[in-house]
């Protein structure tokens, strides 16, 4: 499989490439957040974006579904370019789930209501069908007994699991995670990572911005290291964590106390 792909001409959109970033640049005034990023995400792949804070990994993730507009460059989803007009990206967003650092559950809806919202509003599902789907997803993230809880009455880890279920309710082809465990108490990080791990095992395509190196090491198929708005290194997790090729990667990993 990899061999056939390698023979295809450079730059063409490969059949199993779901997301392709081409020379993505983003500037906020003087500050260069992304300085020309090229990256491909293949179907079923788990790609972890790591690197110091402010290195551009979250910005790239937010460019993926058009929450952030690029200064220049292109993002292709399933061969379709994202529009510069964020309003035109609704169809693409429906096919990509997103999980936020601060959960962003809707506080005026119960756990079940949060999950039902997308299918009912966007897909036009009946309340009954949306409920069935939401209940199944709550069971999947192990929170069936919290269906009628409001977010304020859930722990951080539980909120994030509901947020994952909410994104899954749209039956997305890709899941984007923006530092999903950074706002969590240490004791609840594990439950969220477990849900993510199971999702990966089910074959979900995932792009994960994370500081959880153990997760990246164990779950990722591909690890991408960012620094100063650029990719400084990418490859299999073993390669990145055990035999980093660049000083930037080594510096970053040693900062985290990672000793391979």
């Amino acid at each position: 499989m990899t061999d056939t792909l390698a023979k295809l001409p450079q730059g063409s959109t490969l059949p199993d490439v779901v997301i392709e970033y081409r020379d993505v640049r983003k500037q906020y005034g003087e500050f260069v957040a992304l300085a020309g990023v090229n990256l491909e995400v293949r179907r079923g792949q788990v790609v972890c974006l790591i690197g110091p804070s402010g290195s551009g990994k979250s910005t790239l993730l937010r460019c993926t579904n058009g929450l952030e507009t690029m200064s220049s460059g292109e993002v292709y989803f399933d061969g379709m370019p994202l529009s510069k007009d964020p309003r035109k990206n609704r169809l693409i967003r429906q096919r990509m789930g997103m999980v936020f650092q601060n959960f962003e559950l809707f506080p005026h809806k119960t756990a079940l209501g949060n999950i039902m919202m997308g299918p009912m509003t966007v897909l036009g599902l009946s309340e009954e069908k949306a409920r069935t789907r939401a209940e199944a997803l709550l069971a999947k993230v192990g929170l069936s007994e919290k269906a009628s809880n409001y977010p304020a009455n859930l722990s951080g880890g539980q909120q994030q699991r509901v947020a994952i279920a909410r994104a899954l309710a749209m039956e997305p082809e890709v899941m984007l995670f923006d530092e999903p465990t950074s706002a969590l108490d240490p004791e609840t990080i594990g439950e969220v990572l477990n849900v993510m791990k199971r999702l990966a095992d089910d074959g979900m395509t995932m792009v994960v911005v994370t500081h959880e190196m153990t997760f990246a090491r164990r779950v990722a198929d591909h690890v991408v290291v960012f620094a100063n708005g650029q990719i400084v290194e990418q490859g299999r997790p073993e390669q990145i964590f055990d035999a980093p090729q660049t000083t930037r990667t080594r510096d970053f990993l040693s900062h985290l106390g990672w000793d391979g």
């Binding site: 579904n65 929450l67 964020p86 309003r87 609704r90 169809l91 967003r93 429906q94 990509m96 789930g97 997103m98 936020f100 601060n102 962003e104 559950l105 809707f106 506080p107 005026h108 919202m117 997308g118 509003t121 966007v122 304020a152 909410r166 994104a167 749209m170």
Partner: protein, 219 residues
């Protein structure tokens, strides 16, 4: 000086009618000025500069001009502008709605702005349009936050409706003041007027207090 309180009992029917007009004015003003306030708040946030500038100008004008002036303005200018003669009630209603819409728009604007951008983004990420995200996510949350302020506005409005008495709307103030000048029972009528406003206003104020307690601080 002698008092003749019987004038109050004799006028009870008229005063009751006046009170009904006052209540009707308050309710109708709020029913119109709440949705219009949301519209003006959205216009102020519009990406189109002329639209937001116009909405801002309207709000700043209404917030910094006495209501009584707006009432007179509506009385004299509205017929010229429209070529139609408005009843005093309708004229008063227009003036109060103009004024209250401006205040409510500010209330809603602060409420809408208090909702984190991430909430809208969560909706957009699900594939909602900006309008859907606003209606389903932002507005219901903003609504809860501004309810205590709207309730306070309501009580203020209830008293401010008395200003339309200057254009002979048959509200409580106008009715009471009319009876006063016909009967010369000044103290009696002013006392009765105060008592009725208080009797009607106090429960409303208590409800407002309750709303503040229930919805004031959430999250």
């Amino acid at each position: 000086m002698t008092f003749d309180w019987s004038i109050i009992w004799q006028s009870m029917g008229a005063l009751w009618q006046g009170a009904l007009v006052t209540i009707a004015l308050t309710v109708l003003t709020m029913v119109l000025a709440v949705p219009l306030g949301i519209v003006v708040a959205l216009l102020r946030e519009s990406r189109l500069k002329p639209v937001s500038a116009l909405a801002t100008a309207y709000v700043e004008l209404m917030r910094n001009v006495p209501i009584i002036l707006v009432v007179y303005w509506a009385f004299y200018v509205l017929p010229i502008l429209t070529g139609v003669g408005f009843s005093p009630f309708l004229t008063g209603l227009v003036a109060l709605v103009l004024n209250n819409t401006a205040y409510n728009s500010e209330t809603f604007r602060s409420g809408i702005r208090s909702i984190r951008k991430g909430q809208t983004e969560a909706g957009l990420a699900l594939g909602m349009s900006e309008g859907e995200a606003f209606r389903k996510i932002v507005l219901p949350q903003a609504w809860r936050r501004v309810l205590p302020i709207l309730a306070t506005t309501w009580v203020t409005l209830f008293k401010d409706t008395s200003l339309v008495s200057v254009i002979a709307v048959g509200d409580l103030a106008h009715t009471a003041l009319q009876i006063r000048s016909q009967s010369f029972r000044v103290i009696e009528m002013l006392t009765a007027m105060a008592a009725i406003y208080w009797l009607l206003g106090y429960p409303q104020a208590k409800i407002v207090d309750w709303i503040h307690r229930k919805y004031g601080v959430t999250e």
